[in-house]
Symmetry: C2
């Protein structure tokens, strides 16, 4: 589903602007770390954040990623949070920190609340 | 409402990732040109695009802009399309093209359908 011409926007450690829907129906959008394994997009979050409540209530989400070197080149992926996995040791958080070249001094203080949003793409648009 | 510390993310010609809601309730998010005059965010679009239908049906939108030099520094603005103004000479489109340093060979072919989304901010988040 992801066009070969644009898959680099998922494999490079760029920021995805993740749109979710708030309980009152208003959209919310924030830059997020993510990973892509060819099937799923994954995001780290915690059960104490607004975004977690949003995707629990409305699993449909969308991301926009553009190329910092050619900003008119972009990929939008719309999809669904298929499952939310616990990450109590923050292992996935650490994996993303490594991908984004951030040095950690051990797990974050909110590790017990950490979760992974596992998103299956359903549609794309790109330029 | 926009914090002084982050207003440069609106005054610099960066791309805003604009989240809108599709008629089936699914979010959509795309990088967009925009302008900020201290009160309103403005976007160029056409009456023939999906985004126009989205904001006509659901005027609540959100944008995320991050700093290309410090990508963890970002501003989210949530708001409402307060009005949609016709732009049949593409004058606003040309103003944005100049802001984004794109040279135009006259008005775009879709000028007759051009409109301006005028968005009033209602809430912000930032880091």
């Amino acid at each position: 589903m992801i066009p070969k011409s644009h898959v680099d926007l998922l494999t490079r450690p760029l920021f995805a602007h993740l749109a979710t829907i708030r309980s009152d129906g208003m959209p919310q959008v924030n830059p997020m770390w993510f990973s892509w394994d060819g099937t799923f997009l994954r995001f780290t979050n915690t059960t104490r954040r607004r975004k977690h409540r949003n995707v629990t209530e409305e699993p449909r989400v969308a991301i926009s990623v553009n190329d910092p070197e050619q900003p008119y080149r972009y990929l939008e992926v719309r999809g669904r949070v298929e499952r939310i996995e616990p990450d109590p040791t923050a292992a996935f958080f650490a994996e993303l920190a490594q991908r984004y070249e951030l040095t950690l001094d051990g797990p974050p203080p909110d590790a017990p609340d950490r979760v992974v949003f596992v998103v299956r793409p359903e549609a794309v648009s790109y330029q």
